[in-house]
Symmetry: C2
Subunit: 337 residues, 2 copies
Amino acid sequence: CSSTTPITATMFPGDGIGPEIAESVKQVFTTAGVPINWEEHYVSTEIDPRTQSFLTWESLESVRRNKVGLKGPMATPIGKGHRSLNLTLRKELNLYANVRPCYSLPGYKTRYDDVNLITIRENTEGEYSGLEHQVVRGVVESLKIITRQASLRVAEYAFHYAKTHGRERVSAIHKANIMQKTDGLFLKCCREVAEKYPEITYEEVVIDNCCMMLVKNPALFDVLVMPNLYGDIISDLCAGLVGGLGLTPSCNIGEDGVALAEAVHGSAPDIAGKNLANPTALLLSGVMMLRHLKLNEQAEQIHSAIINTIAEGKYRTADLGGSSTTTDFTKAICDHL
Amino acid sequence: CSSTTPITATMFPGDGIGPEIAESVKQVFTTAGVPINWEEHYVSTEIDPRTQSFLTWESLESVRRNKVGLKGPMATPIGKGHRSLNLTLRKELNLYANVRPCYSLPGYKTRYDDVNLITIRENTEGEYSGLEHQVVRGVVESLKIITRQASLRVAEYAFHYAKTHGRERVSAIHKANIMQKTDGLFLKCCREVAEKYPEITYEEVVIDNCCMMLVKNPALFDVLVMPNLYGDIISDLCAGLVGGLGLTPSCNIGEDGVALAEAVHGSAPDIAGKNLANPTALLLSGVMMLRHLKLNEQAEQIHSAIINTIAEGKYRTADLGGSSTTTDFTKAICDHL
Ligand SMILES: CC(C)[C@H](C(=O)O)[C@@H](O)C(=O)O
Ligand SMILES: CC(C)[C@H](C(=O)O)[C@@H](O)C(=O)O
């Protein structure tokens, strides 16, 4: 129903429930008349029998070429070699900022009804360096790396985001009272960038205190920017405030103009293939992708259809206390379009 | 009113509101007839004019000799040399486990009413090594150190605590999917100890997921054991669930049989000296100290008096929405004894 030239976007359905929720996105997008052609690639912790590979060069090239993509869950097995596929994609595609908006969904009640914040996570370094070794038997160390370049880059992204999205405040989250050099450098970079944005209020909050404030009163925060591990922790905490990772979208931003939207929940192998998965996180990530592409009209339409379906409460998947299948829930969203 | 030989305990009132809340504890303990003589020492981020010192050798010796003490808040200024006094005490006194019970206070409503968990934090190593350096300009690193010895020690403490306190489950919190060597070693040690306690259920939870579960449903957890920084973060998060650090006690356990109970909230310089501080965290920490000394009867009496005073709601300090002074609130507790 749209006459614009279609945009090509990469789709990585991923592991477990990935293919089912990806199918849901494709259906909803088609129904909404989104002018997107999907270039689908198999990236998974299970070797693809056709390519004998977890991740082919063509899959990476697809995102690099299209500059936009949507990614489902990929399992990160504990203790099976360092790099997870998630981290490999971040690294290979130079995805330096992970943006996770977190807001109360009207119609889905949790203990909090006033959440509306954005976590922006440095996505390439910090505790995720992969540098670890045994010093002597029984003594191991891992390196946390913080660089001026990556800190400035993510701080710049956060302030620019705040400014262009009508946000008023950026809080840098840290533990510089303990890690004075690493987190100290991160803060120094945030302060430098803050000076270029006098219209945005800037503050610094120690991570432990931040977590306490978040559970007491999340309305105290607006945009939060932080090093990798703190971002991992706080974004999950925030997701918990509004119902969990099944409901929260995310988007990874790359140096080279790439945007890879992503559902950050697990691959849920226990319910995979059973038509029980909740596609909301991937759908809302798809909406972030549409906004990135400036397809704002379709983004809003799809967003409302999702919100309204959940709010109505007639079709909900099991994780939200309902008994709908993935396909029924998807159909209900399409009916709202 | 007690005829037992009095026990000598060290008291570090600390900075800011420290002296006022310490005074409250002394009054309540006296009223309850607790057989304790306090040996008070000045330890503060402000140099003591009498001794020209932040922390004298005698202060440390006092705890080492008495093996039991109570500590108020000590400020940790950001960016003024590495060691905070808090860390110095942990190090000098070999305080290897930090125990923070966290439970909903009957009568003080928060969004959660089902919290009853214990965080046990490794208190000596991990991200708190203090080892940091600049590699080249703009690139800094800090070392996280995990040792078999410290991990076994805190795991052993956690399982023993669970067993002797009628707890059923120990959850080890980690990020071993990323820090496979350091957090991996921590988990390995927990597993080893878990085997010696077949009656306690053992599980492992990734820190980001743990934070999400905690804010969604804290009743999922019982005893949590974890490396230093995760303990710092999660204990504050848990405190937030029940009203904040002003209401939660803690106790540090040392290798040499030392127990130093501690209010872990800040020194609140803005309200210091104004008779506005809430002494609850220090009082409840005092109760932990009494239990450690097996003065269970007085511990229960004082605990009930605090809980009942808060529940009654007539006398509450400003942080809990009331308008009582520290002395009024303290008097109300004494009246309940
Ligand atoms: C699966 C895991 C490696 C990953 C991370 O730690 O970054 C996940 O928790 C996330 O937040 O995307
Ligand atoms: C003040 C600070 C150094 C300390 C810590 O990080 O351990 C505090 O947050 C705590 O939890 O006792």
